[in-house]
Every structure is written in structure tokens, then in C-alpha cells.
């Protein structure tokens, strides 16, 4: 199939990508944009590993078509740290051992980021519900939940310090 020129806004940068229209967002991010931080676990929309944010909402990039994402803001794990400063979620995940093999981590970080934007003070059950679509085989989820809670607390503290 002939490739189509797509204009995608990824992590704040507009870029033109030439790809066949049936290629998924996952494939285009990894193979055309070299953004390999987005991982794949099933390519069938079952595991949450490939989650990215589109306009701030978690989307399974293995089920999304880039052509539909034109004109929308796409965010991958590479876009979470700003100016060399880690996102508080990334910091907390590193400190608390929430990433073991690290393969599911990007998808979980982005899903958690979307949660904390919508609900900055989630209960543990709310964190669990938000992350229920992201499978992790290493951690037993405990450290992941702890890290999301720690990040939420720190972000609350930071928000309060800024008038």
C-alpha cells in the first residue's frame, strides 16, 4: 500500500511521517519516529503495555491509527521528563523500585499521569482501577501503587507551594 504523508504532533513537536495508513500508531512511533520507549506486549489491545496519551487520555497505540491522531497531541514516555527533569512519577518509580524489568513501565507511567491530571488525590482503589488495564508480571503491583501515591503526594505539595 502506498504510504501517506501524516503530520503528527508528538511530545510537543510537529513531525511529518510517511507511512502506509494501516500502520498502527505503535508501529509508526517505534519504526518511523524511533521512539522505542513505547513497548508492545500483544498488539491486540489486551495488555496496556503500548499505552500513550492522546490529548491527555490513555490510548492503546497498538489499536490506534495515526491518521486519526492528526491534529491531536500525542505524548509518549520520552515526553514525560521536561528539560532534563524527571516527571514526579518517573522519579517515584525509580526510587521505589516500581520498575523491575521495566517493560510495562512506560505504559503504566502514562496511564498514571492521566489519572493524576484528572484526579490529583486518588485513593489506592482509584489508582488500582486506573491501572487495571496495564499488566505487569514482575512487581505484584505493590511498588507501582506505592510510587503513584508518592508522586501524587509530591505533586500536591509542589502545587501548594506554588500560589
Amino acid at each position: 500500500m502506498a504510504p501517506t504523508l501524516l503530520t503528527l504532533k508528538i511530545n510537543g513537536e510537529e513531525r511529518d511521517v510517511l507511512a502506509p495508513t494501516h500502520k498502527t500508531l505503535l508501529e509508526v512511533l517505534r519504526e518511523e519516529c524511533n521512539l522505542t520507549g513505547t513497548k508492545h506486549g500483544c498488539e491486540l489491545g489486551e495488555c496496556g503495555t503500548c499505552t500513550v496519551l492522546v490529548d491527555g487520555l490513555p490510548v492503546l497505540s497498538c489499536l490506534a491509527l495515526p491518521i486519526e491522531c492528526q491534529g491531536h497531541e500525542i505524548k509518549t514516555v520520552e515526553g514525560m521528563a521536561q528539560g532534563g527533569r524527571l516527571h514526579p512519577l518517573q522519579q517515584a518509580f525509580a526510587e521505589l523500585g516500581a520498575a523491575q524489568c521495566g517493560y510495562c513501565t512506560p505504559g503504566i507511567l502514562l496511564t498514571a499521569e492521566a489519572l493524576l491530571v484528572e484526579n490529583p488525590t486518588p485513593t489506592r482503589d482509584e489508582v488500582k482501577s486506573a491501572l487495571a488495564g496495564n499488566l505487569c508480571r514482575c512487581t505484584g503491583y505493590t511498588k507501582i501503587l506505592d510510587a503513584v501515591e508518592l508522586a501524587a503526594l509530591r505533586m500536591q505539595g509542589a502545587a501548594q507551594r506554588q500560589p
Binding site: 506486549g41 500483544c42 489486551e46 524527571l86 521505589l96 521495566g102 482501577s129 487495571a132 505484584g140 505493590t142
Partner: protein, 806 residues
């Protein structure tokens, strides 16, 4: 040294690779991209058992974008397998396929889509054979033989070992129980699908980057499979996105990528899709078990006789070891004066089973701990007390000649009993709620290598130079458990610097000393001891140089806070980087090896090589469940687990290993099944193969117990596998406490619980489990004297302990 004197050991530090992992920098195998790289795809058999009559690749070769198509005829005609005794695999089958998913051809093309389309254009003509889908099927049809080798037709391995007179032990017992259990197979389900990139250079040398837990064994076997000298092959393990034992064999996609690279002159990548991962498998064996145990009035075990039948699947893999493991570790938990084990592994036309977290031991542990629970009830004993009173003896040998060192299990039991409120809750919970306990033990590293040799099991080189850099080179593979970090912590502790000051270079067969691989919970202990030895050798030279400069005796120096200084006089010293300059000036290049091989303790009988380990970890687990009496759904509400890890080198990482083990145990006991219909996997997807999500995983309370083992680095034992083991029987025992039914097979699904509850209501036994055993005569048991109670010998005496480098 006292614990409070450690600077790094015992601290909950982040892993050294944590930062790369949270920003998406870590390059897993499928993230590797190379110039001119081609993409490969395997064509797999749709039949469980068939002869290959003809393979025609003409149409595939003609497809534009296809670079090469290979079949087994393009590879040397040699069979291979991870164990020397089971050389029964082909990367691309030539004459016969033995399971759905066996690879028969491979394609390299411009992209994955073209490769896949080309693979569909390969014409294969099969002659179907009778598929054998169960142990009974395979035993009933020796004429439809899956392999030409094995102890009997379709019997891969049949073993029988006896240590002392078990019949006499039963005769003297107050209670003798015989029970039958079945443990369903399940799979590792790593989130990362296996991937490999091969580059066969114009110089005739091959490099393979792969998501493997054992680059060394892949390296050895590739030489045989491809008929290339081992010295011309380099295997690099990429960071592994979850292993759990599923990436421990050499695989068809790795071998095909190598050959396709040679033929195309391009790097070739092959990444499995999720369905292929389910068929690649090598996971938990389905095991049928019969266990007969004699007990005294107060619950002491007089003797045990254990039988296991393993459904091995289509190939050997680690199966001989798995078979022995189903009978090996029963004896290291409680006192068992005499013991008999009979086991058989049967070939079937399904994906091969192999090592999954706990390798061969979760199944017998389930059987044994459920039987003890039943016996405790019959004897009117508290199941926690009964276990507590009958613990194995530390620093002694077991009936089957295993040497046990420290045992922290008593404290583990006390701590979970206390934390869970066991004494208040047991018998007092409302209907439908229950509480159960179980214990376990596991290896800290296999005491023998997969192939017999006298060389180190793990090697480390520590290098330092005038830049202040300390590099640690080790063949060990970080599969997420944090082995790279552990090496950095240990070297930092010895040299008095920070983990951040160290760069760890792992798992590259060209650059790093051999480590056997990330399996059997061996890396922290074996690579850790080797790293300490290497770092101490470096420190000795540094101290010698600094001592000369400061004009003090070297033994007055200590290393700490990134300095080398006189003990008790911190101002008299030099910065670490300067100390390295002094040492490099005095001795030249600073690069020091450390070697580790376990104490030689294999029992002097056939099969005595499976089970020995430098030391064993211990766990006790209490689970509280809520069983829905209408639907039969079992909900674990809280888990308390205490784990004797010897010493927690990093408590945060140990907790992570324990929590992950508990989670995986809950998946195995409640929902996970690797099941087939006519050779086809029934549920080869992450949606249908049920695994626990955040919503099914309860709160886990982890308690670490430190027994300070003389074999471990700073006293450490394993943590990555053992804590899975007690969770499974603890849940089964809790279900019984909740609703009064015994589910003697995994997984404990709602259907099984309601069925057993219905039976109980109708006055039948409230039990669901296997009803019959295969008709099978085990070989005559080899009778060996029980070594029970003999004192342990040669503690911490190991090869390579001194000499050599310095």
C-alpha cells in the same frame, strides 16, 4: 564486620538502571535497529504430530521484498537441547513436527509484513500422525512414538530413588495419609515477547543480541547448531523484559535469525508475536502427584513416599532436571528421616514444559503442604504449630544427601502467625472467610552446571583506572530482578564508593567472564561472591599503594565515603580516585578477576546433581480469603509472607521479588492455565489467559528475616523464586478453612469450588481433585542410605576461594 558498619548493604537504594527504565532509554532486543536490517518470520506447523512430506518455498522466494527463505535443510543436520541428555530439538523441523508451533521454515524480508506474507506462501505437505495429548494417551500408544529416544516409548525419563526404609517408617507411624493432587501447567507470560537480532559479519563472525536469560548456554549451543567455532560467536543478552524461566533455552527464532543473516549479508531481527510466545512456552509442567506420608501423634513426619508424573510436552528442554526437582526439595523444610521418590516425564504433542519460577518445586510443595494441613486436622494440631515443631535441622544433611545451612523458617512462621492474627482468626472467621498457612524452601543457585565441568559458575572482572572509573564486567543477565545493581552495590561496599561510581557491563560473551545464567536463583549468590572476590583483590592493591604513600601498614586502611584512609583517623587518607592513581602507578593496569563455584556437594547417586545448592531460602505465608458461597469465587483479601533471605542486600529489591512471587503464585493457584484442545492452545492471548491485574492482587505484607548464611555474599540467600511456593497451598488451605472443601488441583476456579461444595451438600466428600493415577511401573528404586541428621561438612569451602589472581 557488623551489619551497622555496612554503607551500602542493607540500604533500600534505587536500581542502577532505574533511571533508564523510567524514561524509556533501556534498549530491549526489539528496540535494536541496524542499517540494512531485514525482518524475519518463522512458518510454524498447524499440526500437533505429523511427518513433513514436502516443503516448497518457490512462491515465497518469488515475492518482491523477500531476501531469503530457509528450511531445516539449510542448517547442519544436528539436534540440540539445553541438557546434554536431551538433544532432541531442531530449529526448523526436517522430517517431523511434534507440536503445533514447531517451526519448519523461515523468511527474511524487507519488513515484517512482507516476511509474514512470504511465510504464508510456503507450501508444506504433511502426513498426519496420531496426536498424543495427555500422559494416558502417550502411555497407551507407544506405537505413535513422539521421539525415538527416552527411557521407554514416549517416556522421556523415569526415575526412582530411595533413602532408607520408608515402609518401616509407615509401619511405625500413628497416621499414614495417601493423597493425590494435580497441578495444572501454566506459562511465564513475560510482558516482552522474545526477540533476537543476528549479524553475521563479512569476517565470518556472528553476533547475536537476544532477550535471553542465559547468553552462555546459547553461545555454546549455537556453535554446535550452526557448526561454527564458539570463538567466532558473540552473544549479547539485551536487558530482558521479564524472564521467569521462559527465556532459558536456545530458540528457533534465534537460530533462524543467525542463518538468515549469513545468507543475506544483513542484520536480521525476529520478534515473536504473543501467540508464538505461548507456543514457545517451556513453562510449568502439569504434574499429577501421589504422596504418602507417615506422621506421629504430635505431627512429626516418620517418612515420605512421593510419586510424580510430568506432562512434558514435545521436547526435553530442562525436563530431566524438572523431573528430579519434583522430588528433590521436600526434605529441606521439615525433618523427614527416610524418603522415597519416583518420577516420570512423558512426552506429549504440546509445547514443551521447562523451568518456570520455582522449577519443578511448586507442584510437590502444593501437594505436601495441603497434605500436612489435612494431617494436622486429623491429629487435632494447629497447622502452624505442627510445622513449627518439625523444622529441618540447620547445618545438617537431609535424607537425600542435601546439605542445609541456615534455616530462618521458625522465625518466618512466628512472624506471619503474629502479623496475620492467625491465633485470633483461625476458626473464628465468619462463614465464607478463611485463613491458611504454608511454608517452603528453595535453592540459592543450582549446585551443578548444566554440562559437567570444573570451571567457575560465575566470573567477574573489576577494572579501575586513573579516571576513577570502576567497571564491573560479568556474564550475568539482568532480567529485571536487579542483578546489575546487586553487583554494583557489592563492589561499592568493598571499595567504599557509591553504586553510581560504578558502571556494570553485563552479559556479553566477548567481553564478560562466563556466568551460567539467570536461573535457579543463583546470580546474587554466585556472581555476588565472585564480585566481592574481584573487588577485594583490587582493594588489596589500592591499599598497598596508599599504605606506601601514607607510610602505614596496609591492614590499618579502610575504604569508605569515596576515600581510602587510616582506620580511626579519617583525615589521614586520599580520595578514592587518587588511590587508584597510586595503585595504577605501582602495579600497572588494574583489572582483577573473581571466580565462584559452589561447594561440591552432589549426592553420590544418579540424580544427586539436582537439588544441591550452597544454601536454601525459607518462606512462610498466611493468606486470608473470601469465598463467595454462591459463585465459588475465591478472593484473596490479604497476604502475609515472611522470607528468610539470609541478608537483604537491598530490602527494597528483596520486597519487590517477594511481592512479585506472591502475585505470580496467586495467578497460578486461582486462574492461570496453559491448556490445549487437539494440540491448539485454547487461550493464547493476554486477555483470555487470565493473569491477575491490580484489582485481583491483594495487599501483600512482606516480612524479611535475616539468617546470615555463611555461603552467601554478606550472608544473602535467594529471594526471586522461593516466596512463590507457599502462596499456592496457603490459598488452598484457606479455601478449606472458609468453605470446608478441599480443591486438590490448581487452578482453584469458581467452577471447581461450587462443584465441591455441591458434593459436600449432597453428603459426598467435599473434595475435588484427580481420582485416578496412570497405570505405570516405575523402575526399581536405587536404594541409598539416608543421610538424615548427618552434620554438614565443608561450609563455605569452595573452589577458587583463594589464589589465582593476586
Amino acid at each position: 564486620m557488623k551489619k551497622d558498619r555496612y554503607a551500602i548493604v542493607g540500604q533500600s537504594l534505587p536500581k542502577i538502571d532505574a533511571w533508564a527504565k523510567v524514561v524509556g532509554e533501556t534498549k530491549f532486543a526489539d528496540d535494536l535497529v541496524m542499517s540494512r536490517m531485514a525482518h524475519g518470520k518463522l512458518l510454524r506447523s498447524p499440526h500437533p504430530h505429523a511427518l513433513i512430506k514436502r516443503i516448497d518455498t518457490t512462491r515465497a522466494r518469488a515475492l518482491p521484498g523477500v531476501y531469503a527463505v530457509i528450511t531445516g535443510h539449510d542448517l547442519p543436520r544436528v539436534k540440540f537441547g539445553i541438557l546434554p541428555v536431551s538433544q532432541d530439538e531442531e530449529a526448523l523441523c526436517v522430517e517431523k513436527v511434534r507440536m503445533v508451533g514447531d517451526a519448519v521454515a523461515a523468511v527474511a524480508a524487507v519488513d515484517e509484513e512482507t516476511a509474514e506474507r512470504a511465510s504464508e506462501l510456503i507450501d508444506v505437505e504433511y502426513e498426519l500422525l496420531r496426536p498424543l495429548m495427555s500422559i494416558e494417551d502417550s502411555l497407551a500408544h507407544p506405537e505413535a512414538r513422539i521421539h525415538e529416544y527416552g527411557d521407554r516409548p514416549n517416556v522421556h525419563k523415569a526415575v526412582a530413588l530411595q533413602f532408607g526404609d520408608v515402609e518401616a517408617a509407615f509401619a511405625s507411624a500413628h497416621l499414614v495419609r495417601e493423597d493425590v493432587f494435580f497441578f495444572e501447567g501454566n506459562t511465564h507470560l513475560p510482558m516482552e515477547q522474545h526477540s533476537a537480532v543476528a549479524q553475521w559479519g563479512a569476517d565470518g563472525k556472528l553476533v547475536l543480541w537476544s532477550s535471553t536469560q542465559t547468553p552462555h548456554y546459547v553461545h555454546r549451543l549455537l556453535a554446535k547448531i550452526l557448526d561454527v567455532p564458539q570463538a567466532h560467536i558473540r552473544v549479547v543478552a539485551a536487558p530482558v523484559g521479564g524472564g521467569f524461566g521462559g527465556k532459558l533455552d536456545p530458540f528457533a527464532h534465534e537460530i533462524a535469525a543467525c542463518k538468515l543473516s549469513q545468507l543475506t549479508g544483513r542484520p536480521v531481527k525476529i520478534t515473536l508475536n504473543r501467540e508464538e510466545v505461548f507456543y514457545t512456552h517451556r513453562g510449568r509442567h502439569p504434574v499429577l502427584m501421589w504422596i504418602k506420608t507417615g506422621f506421629t501423634k504430635d505431627g512429626a513426619i516418620t517418612g515420605m513416599h512421593f510419586r510424580s508424573w510430568l506432562d512434558g510436552g514435545a521436547y526435553g528442554s530442562y525436563g530431566v532436571a524438572s523431573t528430579f526437582y519434583t522430588g528433590a526439595l521436600q526434605t529441606v523444610t521439615y525433618k523427614i528421616p527416610v524418603y522415597k521418590f519416583e518420577g516420570a516425564r512423558v512426552f506429549t504433542n504440546k509445547p514443551p514444559c521447562g523451568p518456570k519460577r520455582g522449577h519443578g518445586t511448586p507442584q510437590p510443595r502444593f501437594a505436601m503442604e495441603c497434605q500436612i494441613d489435612k494431617a494436622a486436622e486429623q491429629l487435632g494440631l494447629d497447622p502452624a504449630d505442627m510445622r513449627r515443631r518439625n523444622l529441618a535441622e540447620p547445618f545438617a544433611k537431609t535424607a537425600n544427601h542435601l546439605t542445609v545451612t541456615t534455616i530462618g523458617l521458625g522465625e518466618c512462621i512466628d512472624r506471619v502467625v503474629e502479623a496475620s492474627g492467625w491465633r485470633q482468626k483461625r476458626g473464628n472467621l465468619p462463614a465464607g472467610k478463611g485463613i491458611g498457612i504454608a511454608c517452603s524452601s528453595y535453592l540459592t543457585g543450582a549446585g551443578t552446571a548444566i554440562y559437567w565441568n570444573d570451571m567457575p559458575h560465575s566470573g567477574v572482572v573489576v577494572r579501575a583506572d586513573r579516571s576513577g572509573l570502576v567497571a564491573v564486567l560479568c556474564g550475568a543477565t539482568d532480567i529485571g530482578q536487579g542483578s546489575d545493581s546487586i553487583l554494583a552495590y557489592l563492589v561499592a561496599e568493598v571499595l567504599g564508593i557509591e553504586p553510581k561510581d560504578i558502571r556494570v557491563h553485563p552479559a556479553d560473551t566477548d567481553l564478560t567472564p562466563v556466568d551460567l545464567g539467570s536461573y535457579s536463583s543463583r546470580v546474587t549468590l554466585m556472581a555476588g561472591n565472585a564480585a566481592i572476590q574481584a573487588a577485594e583483590r583490587l582493594r588489596e592493591k589500592i591499599f598497598a599503594a596508599v599504605a606506601r604513600k601514607l607510610e602505614v601498614a596496609p591492614d590499618r586502611l579502610v575504604a569508605g565515603d569515596r576515600r581510602v584512609f587510616v582506620d580511626g583517623d579519617p583525615d589521614r587518607g586520599v580520595a578514592f580516585a587518587q588511590a587508584v592513581v597510586l595503585a595504577e602507578s605501582m602495579f600497572g593496569v588494574l583489572a582483577f578477576p573473581g571466580s565462584y563455584a559452589p561447594p561440591r556437594r552432589a549426592g553420590k547417586y544418579k540424580g544427586g546433581g539436582v537439588g544441591p545448592s550452597p544454601c536454601y531460602s525459607y518462606s512462610a505465608c498466611v493468606v486470608e480469603v473470601d469465598v463467595d458461597r454462591d459463585t465459588g469465587e475465591v478472593k484473596p483479601t490479604e497476604v502475609w509472607i515472611a522470607h528468610d533471605v539470609g541478608r537483604a542486600l537491598n530490602p527494597l529489591l528483596v520486597e519487590g521479588q517477594v511481592e512479585g512471587s506472591v502475585y505470580m503464585g496467586l495467578g497460578e493457584v486461582l486462574m492461570e492455565e496453559q491448556v490445549f484442545r487437539k494440540g491448539v492452545h485454547k487461550i493464547p492471548s493476554l486477555l483470555e489467559y487470565k493473569s491477575p491485574t491490580t484489582l485481583e492482587t491483594p495487599e501483600i505484607h512482606t516480612i524479611l528475616v535475616e539468617s546470615d548464611d555463611p555461603e552467601g555474599p554478606f550472608g544473602a540467600k535467594e529471594a526471586g523464586q522461593g516466596p512463590l511456593l507457599p502462596v499456592i497451598p496457603a490459598v488452598a488451605n484457606a479455601v478449606y478453612d472458609a468453605v470446608g472443601v478441599r480443591i486438590d488441583e490448581t487452578p482453584i476456579t469458581p467452577e471447581k469450588v461450587t462443584k465441591a461444595m455441591d458434593a459436600r451438600r449432597q453428603g459426598k466428600p467435599g473434595r475435588l481433585g484427580p481420582e485416578r493415577l496412570p497405570v505405570f511401573t516405575f523402575p526399581e528404586a536405587k536404594i541409598v542410605e539416608s543421610a538424615f541428621g548427618q552434620p554438614a561438612e565443608g561450609i563455605a569451602e569452595r573452589p577458587f576461594a583463594s589464589g589465582g589472581a593476586s
